[in-house]
């Protein structure tokens, strides 16, 4: 399948940004210091799920945000997202540039960068990591790349078959793809892909000390890292139960805990010395499967608008995330390319009732099922209670997570009758990934449930276009088309609330969670603890 999407996007801005940043980066190389020598103390992170060992290998990046947490400790990339830089922070590469025709990109490695085993990071390792990459979007890179040239012992050039305008975004955003994360070729080949996942060696600030698969990852500051590393020992423990994580924080067993559940946010915020880090995360929105069918009550735009008017976004945000999320206008997060800003929708129960009357439902109607994204069932319950106020009577349908995602794959036939889905998702990179995965006909999660033909037509046009201005216009048109017609009803942006214990040195929570594109704590080397 041809994927013209990557051929053109913000041509000029992108190039300009790349060139300028490349220049700035080379001018301001962080001072090299013997990092590990000064490192002291220990930091314990209580992780909110199990550990999958595959998350320790960037070569098999699964395209989700999860591996970020481990990559940023053990591995390093040529360029990556850090702080306010979305994808172009120079890490192992001292600087980089994309050719004016976008048909090649050249990276120059920092002097003296090393892997944890002492081997230098060479252009050959970069080439291997790129060519051997098998994770998310691997086929895109494969298809676009003609060859990888080693120019000299610090310089490497990626040569493309055609203009590859999204290269830097795809290459440098940690939760999109992983070919830019460099693994040592010799070691990788020696231990094999599976062996590597047990004992990964990277060029990141922390080297692996002990790995209990699924349970515990212990790391130690790597003194060969090019930036100073502050904390000597970094320990990540998997603690699936939220209440237990909070107890760990309270007792000082953990310094950072991820994912504090809504009910506990207020209490945790009041613990002495504890700082909450509410990271804006996935977007929750309402979907009406099969609304194109004239027999479906949601076929009528007025009914869909009534739903939007009935939803109490602020109450939802307050109850579910202690007000730390954000009621939204657009269902697409604003931290991706071409996402448009949209004002928060109003709540107006009277007007909603009025619209329902006009649409021919003076007494409301019954919805067969309201299915929330697992395990956010209480959000579904709140939605049902809110809709009931205007006469839309729904029943909650809960699904175990694996079943839910399989049902989504099944398309409309899995959601017959009158149904509402309260879905939630977070995708980085570009607005088009959202549209393609969650709206388009045949999209990975949308299938045939909610697509709209003429918007899909415009999207095809968008993908074919190589004119950045036209692409931007189409992107905005499509997003407006969805929002004006209430094809989806945005609810709010979820807050992934984390908590930082008193031992961690910080002025504000953003010092530990600079966010933008990753919901986890990073950069690990910058985090400090009190003695």
């Amino acid at each position: 399948m041809k994927r013209p999407r990557f051929e053109a996007s913000g041509l000029f801005t992108l190039l300009a940004a790349a060139l300028i940043l490349g220049a700035v980066a080379s001018a301001a190389i962080p001072f090299a210091s013997p990092a590990g020598a000064a490192a002291k103390g220990k930091l314990v992170l209580a992780w909110h799920a199990g550990f999958a060992s595959r998350w320790l290998d960037p070569q098999e990046h699964d395209g989700t945000a999860t591996p970020d947490n481990f990559f940023t400790a053990i591995h390093d990339a040529l360029i990556k997202n850090q702080g306010t830089a979305l994808y172009d922070y120079p890490a192992l590469a001292e600087h980089f540039s994309v050719a004016a025709d976008a048909k090649s990109a050249t990276f120059t490695l920092r002097k003296g960068v090393k892997f944890h085993n002492g081997d230098p990071v060479t252009p050959q390792d970069v080439k291997f990591s790129y060519e051997n990459y098998r994770g998310a979007k691997a086929d895109v890179f494969k298809k676009k790349t003609e060859r990888v040239e080693i120019v000299d012992d610090r310089t490497i050039r990626f040569v493309f078959k055609e203009p590859f305008l999204d290269f830097a975004i795809l290459f440098g955003t940690a939760n999109v793809a992983g070919p830019g994360w460099v693994v040592p070729e010799k070691y990788y080949k020696q231990v094999g892909a599976d062996g590597f996942k047990q004992k990964p060696i990277g060029a990141g600030p922390y080297k692996l000390a002990r790995h209990e698969p699924g349970v515990r990852v212990e790391m130690e500051a790597f003194d060969g890292y090019y930036r100073p590393v502050n904390v000597k020992q970094l320990v990540m423990i998997s603690v699936p139960e939220a209440a237990t994580r909070v107890a760990m924080l309270e007792r000082g067993e953990a310094d950072i805990v991820y994912n504090v559940p809504g009910e506990l946010i207020t209490k945790v915020g009041k613990l002495p010395g504890v700082t909450l880090a509410p990271v804006l995360s996935g977007s929750f929105f309402i979907e009406f499967p099969g609304f194109q069918d004239p027999k479906n009550p949601f076929h009528d735009k007025r009914v869909r608008e009534a739903v939007s008017l009935a939803v109490d976004r602020r109450a939802m945000n307050q109850a579910e995330t202690a007000g730390m999320g954000k009621p939204t206008g657009n269902w697409i997060n604003n931290d991706v390319q071409y996402a448009i800003e949209w004002p928060e929708y109003p709540r107006n129960v009277e007007k909603a009732k009025q619209l329902l009357r006009e649409a021919g439902y003076p007494n409301g109607f019954d919805v067969d099922w309201v299915t929330p994204l697992p395990t956010f069932y209480s959000r579904g319950e709140r939605l049902i209670a809110q809709l009931r106020e205007v006469g839309i009577r729904g029943r909650l349908q809960t699904m175990e997570r694996g079943i839910y995602f399989q049902r989504l794959q099944g398309g409309l036939k899995e959601f017959p009758g009158t149904q509402i889905i309260l879905h939630g998702v977070r995708i980085a990179g570009s607005w088009s990934f959202w549209y393609e995965g969650h709206f388009k006909c045949g999209g990975f999660n949308s299938r045939d449930r909610i697509c709209v033909k003429d918007l899909d037509g415009k999207f095809d046009q968008y993908e074919r276009s190589i004119n950045p201005a036209e692409r931007k216009k189409l992107a905005e048109e499509i997003q407006r088309g969805i929002l004006d017609n209430y094809y989806l009803v945005p609810v709010f942006r979820h807050a992934f609330v984390n908590a930082i214990g008193p031992r961690v040195v910080l002025q504000k929570w953003q010092d530990v969670f600079p966010t933008i594109t990753t919901g986890y704590a990073y950069p690990w080397e910058d985090i400090k603890v009190k003695d």
Binding site: P261, K267, P374, I384, Q397, G402
Partner: protein
């Protein structure tokens, strides 16, 4: 395991109606506490529609979330045991929860007992390859985790209270099958069964007239002890996210959904349903223990 002295076995040989009569008589001597608790809960469950002040699935109009019980500061008599994270009345949820818990506990036990007793009789009385197959399946079943079943059924037909009952029945039938089979094996060798067979009674008739009435005591005792286990298992399934689906007011679900609030000091969300579960399970266990001594002193290791 235990060998059965002939005299007690004969005493236990009663017709079905005699067995019922004995049960009624026994009920009068049952442990007072357990009977009061169970009787009270059954009453509450039956009258839930009349005595519950609010709809258990919807927020109380005008009430805040996390309102504490009435005797605490900020509490209100309108919601005497407080409200939960959705602003629902906890008392109403507990009252309706009695219904869910009793239905799940009793029906789950009935399903398990039904399958298990049938399998046990079939296995023990028919014998041969039927016995072989049933016993091998029973053994294999023991190693299958309940949660795998739960997810399997949820995937096949979606979660509901009735599916939970099926799941629990499917998990707990094996203990019946083994014990009942053991009983039937001894019964099969006994004179009254042999005589009936010689007299030309069909297998079905022998099972109905002679085998079934004689294993009912054991099945009843097992059932009384299983009810509590099933109720606890229902709560565990909720913890794993595959239990009775919200917003149904099941005690196990209430306990599991609100568990983080325990750490936040909103104890009333979990302590009340927890106490209810504790009471009902304790009561059924005590009752079952008593029943066991009363009906079937020889059965051990249940």
């Amino acid at each position: 395991m235990a060998t059965i002295p002939a005299n007690t076995r004969l005493a236990a040989r009663r017709t079905a109606s005699g067995w019922l009569g004995a049960l009624v008589k026994a009920a009068r001597e049952a442990p007072l506490m357990a009977v009061i608790i169970l009787g009270g809960l059954v009453l509450v469950a039956l009258l839930a529609d009349l005595i519950a002040p609010y709809d258990p699935t919807l927020p109380v109009k005008g009430a805040e979330m996390f309102v504490p019980p009435f005797w605490m500061e900020g509490g209100s008599v309108a919601t005497p045991l407080g409200t939960d994270f959705q602003g629902r009345d906890i008392l109403s949820r507990l009252i309706y929860g009695a219904r869910v818990s009793l239905v799940v506990g009793l029906m789950g036990t009935l399903v398990a007992g039904g399958i298990g007793t049938a399998m046990g009789i079939l296995s023990g009385y028919v014998g041969g390859w039927v016995d072989q197959i049933i016993m091998r399946v029973t053994d294999a079943w023991l190693a299958l985790p309940a949660i795998v079943f739960a997810i399997f059924l949820a995937a096949m037909v979606g979660p509901s209270m009735w599916n939970i009952i099926v799941i629990l029945g499917a998990v707990y039938w094996t203990r019946y099958a083994r014990v009942i089979r053991g009983e039937v094996l001894t019964l099969r060798e006994r004179d009254f069964v042999k005589l009936a067979e010689i007299a030309g009674a069909s297998k079905l008739r022998v099972i109905k007239k002679h085998i079934l009435p004689n294993v009912m005591n054991t099945a009843t005792v097992l059932a009384s002890l299983t009810v509590g286990v099933v109720i606890i298992a229902e709560a565990s399934l909720s913890f794993l996210g595959v239990g009775v689906p919200p917003p149904q007011p099941a005690w196990g679900l209430m306990l599991s959904e609100a568990r983080p609030t325990l750490m936040a000091g909103q104890w009333w969300l979990t302590v009340f349903p927890g106490a209810c579960i504790l009471l009902i399970v304790l009561a059924t266990q005590l009752f079952g223990d008593w029943l066991r001594v009363r009906l079937d002193p020889q059965t051990r290791n249940l």
